[in-house]
């Protein structure tokens, strides 16, 4: 295997919030075409770790490198051209149209006085098409349902076109077929364009199916990472969620479910 530059790499990353350790000496390498699932119980620091990877939270020690360059060497704009984040919730104090929201993703590529070009608009419309929101282009964001908002946030991320996509619960609020659509879309984006994705997921079975690597946050700074087959074991999952997890073999693969205590 040839040595490739990872899209994102952490070196001895120490991160804690209010004296609560999230990870200790974390050395993470995410290579092109990889899809990482980030698992852990509520409040264990999944979102904070995602923010640290994006340079939006300063770690206590260690460093984060994007495509071989330390975050501290890069400007906010440069980071935003490589790494994009889809957050859990969006703000609607100032409602704008769905198309305008998707166009926000083009911000890092435009200069102060520039207006979005026809090419930018085409990119935004294609992103809306990809998440099935083309018909809503001129609706206002405050009239959207929770699930439509999630898909719009994803469209803005697609319009931003980052090499590394950091997604905080991308399938939250989505009904079943949209969950699958979104994860299929991410898989296709990652495979076709040599991107990488790190996503916070709560559904172990979706992680099993749509990720090739997982990272488990156990709290107190303990992190377990590796390929899905090695890390997603019954023992690890039961310890992670503090509840016995069992599995059943189906024709379409292994399925996890919470056991009865």
């Amino acid at each position: 295997m040839s040595v490739q530059i990872p899209i994102i790499e952490t070196r001895d990353l120490n991160l804690s919030i209010a004296d609560k350790a999230i990870c200790r000496n974390l050395n993470l390498r995410v290579n092109p075409t990889e899809r990482w699932g980030l698992l852990g119980v509520n409040g264990v620091g999944k979102t904070s770790l995602l923010l640290a990877l994006a340079g939006l939270k300063i770690p206590q020690a260690g460093s984060v490198h994007l495509q071989g360059r330390a975050l501290s060497e890069l400007s906010g704009r440069q980071i935003a051209q490589i790494c994009g984040v889809m957050f859990q919730d969006s703000d609607d104090a100032f409602p704008v149209s769905v198309l305008e929201t998707a166009l926000i993703g083009r911000h890092p590529y435009l200069h102060a006085w520039a207006w979005e070009s026809a090419a930018d608009e085409a990119i935004a419309r294609a992103a809306l098409q990809a998440v099935n929101l083309s018909d809503c282009a001129h609706r206002m964001t405050n009239s959207l349902s929770g699930g439509e908002r999630r898909r719009l946030a994803l469209a803005a991320l697609l319009a931003q076109d980052p090499t590394l996509m950091l997604l905080d619960e991308p399938v939250n609020h989505l009904d079943l077929h949209h969950q699958i659509d979104v994860l299929e879309l991410l898989t296709q984006q990652v495979a076709q364009h040599g991107k990488a994705a790190v996503m916070v997921l709560h559904d172990v079975n979706l992680a099993m199916r749509y990720c090739d690597h997982v990272m488990m946050l156990f709290g107190y700074g303990e992190v377990l990472q590796g390929p899905v087959q090695e890390v997603l074991t019954l023992d690890n999952l039961s310890r992670l969620y503090g509840h016995p997890v069992r599995s059943v073999e189906t024709p379409e693969g292994c399925l996890f479910y919470p056991g009865k205590t």
Binding site: L56, S75, F87, F94, H107, W113, A114
Partner: protein, 324 residues
């Protein structure tokens, strides 16, 4: 770019019409043909003095003050993440009023009164900034709360000053508090500040659009949020301070003008910022024309007119927005 053209053209036309009305109407009404002749330099008699020396400086002051307030309001709304914030919400006008009333109490007038008002506004701005910054965290709600508390403190001091002031000065003080364009003679500072304010805020407009989507989103898209917020705070405060210095505290323009535009043309700040300046300027110009002429020869404080017109218009818009 194309989207900005039509709204700004309409607002520009509104500004021209308001200017024409302001120059034509007064104790003596001047027909528009005469106004045109004065402006084009073909008329040198009494209408010349009336239009160019009495009405024009006041009209320029009214327009720039309204534009400054509306621009400051639009910026403050993004800073505080609240589309109903106005330029006075952080206590800037309160600080200016206390300083101005003290000056009036000491018998100081003219330019020194303006200087006192400006100094008061700056002091209030520094107090709110220092207190809100205290613990390092600088959230919108903390800034808003600090500003509101400081503003109510100024309100108490204003009440105290009014109580202890001799009757002879009370009328002048009340006029100052209600906002009045009659005493302003200089318009250079206002015009320069307005040009500077627009020049500094327009290149930030797309950053403001991103910041309106949420602070984390903005930071993730490369917007230097901390620096931008500090810049917004200082800029909006200075614009407000100059407006208050020129004309006292005139209510409603800084809230209504940007908010009406948000409802009418949307929240793209590249259109909204210049639009708010044009619209706020026109509104205050029209209100001042009404204030001069409605009960002539009696002059009303223009703040009374803006509030009397602004309250019902705003309530109507709110009820309409709810139903949409």
């Amino acid at each position: 770019m194309k989207r900005a053209f039509i709204p700004l053209l309409i607002l520009g036309a509104l500004a021209v019409v308001s200017a024409w009305l302001a120059l034509s109407f007064g104790s003596v009404n001047t027909p528009w043909q005469t106004v045109w002749q004065v402006i084009s330099g073909n008329e040198r008699g009494l209408p010349f003095d009336l239009v160019l020396q009495l009405r024009l400086p006041r009209a320029i002051n009214a327009f720039t003050t309204g534009a400054l307030l509306a621009l400051a309001g639009a910026l403050m709304q993004v800073l505080l993440r609240n589309p109903l914030a106005d330029p006075y919400v952080l206590g800037i006008s309160g600080g200016a009023a206390v300083a101005a009333l003290c000056a009036l109490l000491l018998g100081i007038g003219g330019l020194w009164l303006n200087a006192a008002a400006f100094a008061g506004a700056l002091i209030s701005m520094l107090i709110v900034f220092g207190l809100a910054r205290g613990a390092g965290a600088w959230s919108a709600s903390r800034l808003l709360l600090t500003g509101v508390i400081v503003a109510s403190g100024w309100g108490a001091v204003i009440g105290f000053l009014l109580t202890v002031s001799p009757d002879a000065q009370l009328r002048g003080m009340l006029f100052w508090l209600m906002g009045d364009l009659g005493s302003a003679t200089q318009y250079g500072v206002g015009v320069v500040t307005l040009v500077l304010g627009l020049g500094l805020s327009l290149p930030l407009a797309r950053n403001l659009n991103v910041m309106a989507r949420g602070e984390l989103t903005a930071r993730a898209l490369g917007v230097p949020v901390a620096r931008l917020r500090l810049g917004l705070y200082v800029l909006a405060s200075l614009l407000t301070a100059v407006a208050v210095m020129t004309a006292g505290s005139i209510g409603f323009i800084g809230l209504v003008a940007p908010h009406v535009l948000r409802l009418a043309v949307g929240n793209d700040h590249r259109i909204l910022l210049p639009g708010a300046a044009l619209f706020g300027g026109s509104l205050l110009l029209l209100a001042d024309t009404v204030a001069r002429t409605a009960l002539a020869p009696q002059q009303l404080p223009v703040g009374v007119v803006t509030a009397l017109l602004g309250v019902p218009v705003f309530l109507y818009l709110l009820s309409r927005a709810e139903r949409r």
